[in-house]
Every structure is written in structure tokens, then in C-alpha cells.
Amino acid sequence: MKTSIVKFFYFLDNSSFYTDFKAFTKNILENSKYKYKKYFDFFMIFLVISTIGILIYEVNHPHLALFDNYEYAAIIIFIIEWLGRLWVYNDTRKIVIQDYEESLFLASNYNLKNSIKKAFNEKLKFIFSPMSIIDLLAILPAYRPLRVLRIFLLFRLFKILRYTNSLKEFLHIFKERKFELYTLVILSTVVIFFGSTIMFIYEGPVGQNPNVNNFFDAVYWSLITISTVGYGDIVPITPEGKFVTLILVINGFLVIAFSTSILTTALAERMEHIKQNRIESEVEKLKEFIIICGYRTISKSLIEELIKIKKKILIVDENPEKIALAKEQNYLAVCGDCTDMDFLEKIGVGKTAVTIICLFENDAINLSAVLGARTLDANIKIVTLVNNIEVESKLKLAGANFLINPNQISAMVASEYIGQPVAFDALYGILLNEDISAEVDEIEIVEGMQIIGFDINQIDFDDYNIVLIGVIDTKQNHKFIFNPTNIKYTIKQNDILIVIGYKSSIKELKTNFFNNKFLKVQDEK
């Protein structure tokens, strides 16, 4: 018997269907980052609200059998959900297997009961957790003989908390501010107790105040007064009672001011956290995005260019003010330390980020970020700024793919410029996107293009108003062949043609590559 049970657990552990299904259930119930959880949550919220809606409707409307069935269906779903939560809370099979293997290892007699007990205790822990109790209370009113319990239907509203993250965050505030809230509760309890006692002593005796008949009335009165609600159904008559009222009113201000400040500051702090979480989950949804570390002037120019070609960008900076600036521009930005590897991992390095660009003024920070990114992901493309030329080799060693030194570039541009300004303007103008009349572009020869296998001289580039600068031969280690029209060059797949011309003419040529129109018209000759 015992061995067959253990065998059964082993069978479960080996069954990929069982483990996958359990993982799926756990994801859909507990993992807020799971893609399909939100559909499940929406469905459950709808169920809860509709059953409560029925309850409200039935208060002064005739009873409908259809609603009963609906209610039962909802209850069954609630029960299944609760059982599912109970099921995924822990893994009984793992406890059994672990204990069994331990006993094998120690050569002692295996006691199945102990493991089952251990697992059961953990399940009990779940059953008595507040959330589980709310679930159970929401199911309870379905039991007909206990119709009195209908009020517990409202507990279903609490169930909604389960399905919404923001409300959970709100509850967190109470947890975080436990100490302050305790102080507040104790303070107000003491004040209320004193107030109601004094009120009861002076106005309680028969005939003094017709509205204060027992201690509960006194407590009710002091709570209504201290909360500054003040219905006015019970009013003090004696001078002592009036004096107590004054004290309660002043205290009421304090309690409200105190509690409001506690909650608002906690909420504000929590808000930051919530925002951060939101960005992290947003980043997780992004595919193939670029991380830009450091929000500076150079970053802004770069981002503008990248946005134009619809790249997805995440900006990271340590300075919250800069992040605020980036957010003003509607960019996705997150505040954090790029030299911190945990942070880098959190924002998607090693997962969905394809490129990381470090643009800090401080080379040490760049170096650290480069090193961190390279450690997390061997394939990610790393671009970094070099401010000091001596660090260049170190950054390369750290794993940067591309280094950029703005001063170096400016110096080269400047010196080239004074030599031959026109020639320079010509080529660099189009590089800088200044001249829109023509652009340098590359045409990649891809599969399906009819041009493959033809001699490059058979294309009349002049006819397209395109200048062919050269061909990059991908097969031969990206060798660049300048002006291949003078030699016999056969176009191969994956070659890249570098051309200058109008956007439209380049496009035309590209499309013509797919059919035979590119060939020079030879028949006429």
C-alpha cells in the first residue's frame, strides 16, 4: 500500500502533463505577470459583480429560477477556483518524494504518515490565510438553510481584491504602516473609551439624558463625535458632558489629520513602487528594444533619430529629475543604477533587450555598465561612449561592440572639412540627413531576387539616376569592392549594394530586382 502510494507520487512527478497543468494553474491563479491571467481575472470579477447584482435585484423583485442556476454555476466556479488554489499552494508529491529519498539515504524506515501530515499542515496554513477565508465566506451563502448568511455575499467584493493588483498594493500600505496605524488605533480607542465613560457616568443615569440609556449609546456618541461626523441624535446636556465633547472634537481633528497624513505619505511612497513595477512589466512585454543608459544631450539627439525609424527604446538614468524630463517627452524611462547587474537584468538585459547604449560622461560608469551587460548576455550589442581615449582598450576588453568618441569624430569631421569642403558637404550632408534630395542607402540582395547570378554590369544604374559606390561581399568577410562595374562581378545572395540616390528611385530598383526589369534593354540594339 505504502509503496504504491509513493510510486504514484513518483508517477505524478514524472508526468509532464501533470506538472505542466499544475504550472499552468498556478500561473493563471497566482502569477500576475502571466499573459492570460488578466482574462481569467476579468471573468472572475464579472462573475462576482453579476452575482451581487442579482442579490440586489432580488431584494424587491420576484424570484427567478434562472438566477438560482446562475448562482449555482458561479458557486461551482468559485469552489473549483478555491480548490485550485489549495492544490497549487504546495506540492505534496515533492514532500513525499523528498522524505522518501531521505529515508532511503539514511536507511531508516519510511513513514508515509509524517510526510502526508507535513503536506496537510501546509495546506491548512493556506485554508486559514485571510484570502482563503474570504473565498470561503463568499461561497458559504449558497448553502440554502443558511440563507441568513446572505450578507456574506458582500465578501465576494473582497474577492475582487484578488484579481486586481492595484488594490493589493493599497492593502500593502496598511501592512507597511502597521506601527503608525496601531498607535493611531490605540490613541483613538483610549480617547473614545474615556469620552464614553465620562459621558455615561454624567448623563447615563435615568432621567439625565433620554438618549443615553446604556454604555453602547455613549460609545456610539463618542465615535460619531470624534470622527467629526456628528449626527446630532445624541447631544450632551450636562456641563461635564459638554466639556468632554470639546475634548473629543479637538481630538477628532488630530485623529483625522494623523490618519490622513499616514495614508497619504504611504500612498505616495507606494506610488513610486507601483510605477516602477508598471514599467518593469511594460518592459517585459517589449520585444527587441534598445536600452539607452544616461539621458543627456547626446541621448536626446540619438533618441529622436531612433524614434523616426520606430525603434522601441527604454531610457535609464540614475537621476530622477532626468527621468522626469524623459517622461515629459513620453519616452519609456526608468530610474536606476546601470552599474547594478540586478537592475540591468530586471530591465531586460539578457532577455528581450537587443542593444544597450551607454552614454554616460563618466567612463568608469560606462565600463561598469558594459561589463555588466556583457556578463548577462553574450549576444547583446553594446555601444558605448568613450570620453577618454585611454579607456578605449578597456571598454573593448569589457565587451563593447562599438565605441564612439564624439571629440574624435568632431576632430576628424573638422579637419576633413577644411581640406575639401564641397566634397565633404556632399557625402556628410547626406549622412547627417541634412540633404533630403539624395541619400546613401544599402540594398541587400535577398532570396527571391531575380538579380542573383547576373553580372552587375547588366544593371543600368544611370537609368535609375543611382550611383553605385560598391558592393559588400558578405561571403568574403564583408569585403568592400569599390565600383565593381569595371570588373565582372556576379551578384550573389546576401551581397549588399551601397548606392546613392533618391529614396523613390532606390525603392524602384529594389522592386525591379524581384522581376526581370532590371536588365539593360539589349534587344533594341
Binding site: 573638422a414 564641397v422 549622412l431 544599402e442 559606390i469 565600383n483 569595371n486
Partner: protein, 236 residues
């Protein structure tokens, strides 16, 4: 005669410019008002002058009116750069003035003051990264043509009266193909001081004062130039 240039401000950018120019056989005069920078420049074996250049006498003593080819205003003070740009332009109409600015507003001011070219290291850096991300292979090829001392180069040819291209139409020129040279386009005085790409498809008559822009291997460029028989403007 060697081209003489002034580098105003031996900053990190200024020093890079000075060294690059020296490699290209320019005669570089370094002017700065910062002692440390001057010391650095001396160490790098440049002719140094301790001037602020804020009065015209200093500029004239350096020969700004006729002995200087270009000036780079790259000192650490933006105000000084602007001032020097303005006074140099005032003294000499034809001098090439290259200045640096980190913002667009500042570069506008410099252009108004008379700078020929305003460089923005941030923009240049950003574009370089952008190019590298989008078209890395192409960028490498263009950089080779533009910056490095590789065999391939871009050059310009000034058309004078005796040039064989004088009075010819741009589209009819096919001879460059024999020299393995690409003709990119032309700057025409009649059409304004802007460069026009050959790809624009215009058929324009070339005349005196136009400048042709060509790309090719150094030897071919040399031969082509001799063939055109134009005087050479600028160096490779």
C-alpha cells in the same frame, strides 16, 4: 606653401583637431588662455600663443588678414568662441571658421556671427551610433572613404577655363569610367552654393567655377585630375 590654421583652445576636442591636422601636414598654431592647456600643447610640440583673442590686435599679429587659411574656435568658453568668430569674420571675409556648440540655439548664433561650419559633437556622436545600429556595413565603408587613410578617397575638382569639361554637359561625361572613378555630383555657382547630386537627373552645362566631386582610389584620382587638366583645389 603649407596651409596655416589656428586652433583656438587646446581642449580635448581642440587637441584632437590639432593632432589630426598636423598629421595631414597643416601648419597648426595653438592659441589658448589657459596655462595648463598651453603646457599640454607645448608638450605635443605645437607653436603656442597665450592670447584670449578678444581684441583685434592679437588676431592681426597672428596674420588673420592674409596668412591664415582657417580657424577652429573650440575653446572651453562659448562666449569667447562666439566673440572670436565675430571678430575674425569682421577682419577677413574669406577665412574658413569652424566652431563647436553643444546646443542648437548656440549654433544658430555662431552661424549668424559668421562661422562657416558649426559642429555639434553630441549630434555627430548620436548620428554615428544611429548609423551603426541601422546600417553598420555601409557606415564603415563611408567612414573609410571619408576619414581613414585608406586607398579610397573622396575629392573635389575645380573646373577652370582650360578644363576639358568646360562647356560640356554633365550627363555626357562618361570618361571617368575609364579611370575607375565615380562622379557624385557638382556644385554649381549658377545654381547657388549647394551641392547637387548627379542622381537628381539634371543635365547641366558645366562651366568655369564649378566643382566636381569624385570618389576613387588615390592613383586613379591623381590620373583623372591630370587628365581634366584643371588646377587642383585642396588636397587629398
Amino acid at each position: 606653401m603649407k596651409n596655416r590654421v589656428i586652433v583656438y583652445g587646446y581642449t580635448s576636442l581642440g587637441s584632437k583637431i590639432a593632432i589630426t591636422l598636423k598629421d595631414k601636414d597643416y601648419e597648426v598654431l595653438v592659441v589658448d588662455f589657459d596655462e595648463d592647456n598651453l603646457l599640454k600643447a607645448k608638450k605635443d610640440e605645437f607653436k603656442t600663443y597665450n592670447y584670449t583673442l578678444l581684441n583685434d590686435d592679437e588676431l592681426i599679429s597672428l596674420g588673420i588678414e592674409n596668412k591664415i587659411d582657417s580657424i577652429f574656435c573650440v575653446s572651453k568658453s562659448d562666449k569667447n568662441n562666439l566673440f572670436v568668430t565675430l571678430s575674425v569674420r569682421n577682419l577677413n571675409r574669406n577665412l574658413k571658421i569652424i566652431s563647436v556648440s553643444k546646443t542648437k540655439a548656440e549654433s544658430k548664433k555662431l552661424l549668424v556671427a559668421g562661422a562657416t561650419k558649426v559642429l555639434n559633437p553630441n549630434d555627430l556622436g548620436a548620428l554615428k551610433i544611429y548609423r551603426n545600429l541601422t546600417k553598420p556595413l555601409m557606415t564603415k565603408v563611408l567612414d573609410d572613404i571619408l576619414f581613414t587613410k585608406s586607398d579610397l578617397n573622396i575629392s573635389q575638382i575645380y573646373i577652370n577655363k582650360n578644363s576639358i569639361f568646360n562647356q560640356k554637359f554633365l550627363k555626357n561625361i562618361k570618361v571617368h569610367k575609364q579611370f575607375n572613378i565615380l562622379l557624385l555630383g557638382i556644385m554649381d555657382k549658377e545654381l547657388g552654393d549647394k551641392f547637387i547630386f548627379k542622381t537628381k537627373g539634371i543635365n547641366h552645362k558645366i562651366d568655369e567655377g564649378d566643382i566636381l566631386v569624385i570618389v576613387g582610389k588615390n592613383n586613379d584620382l591623381q590620373r583623372f585630375r591630370q587628365y581634366v587638366e584643371g588646377t587642383v583645389n585642396g588636397t587629398i
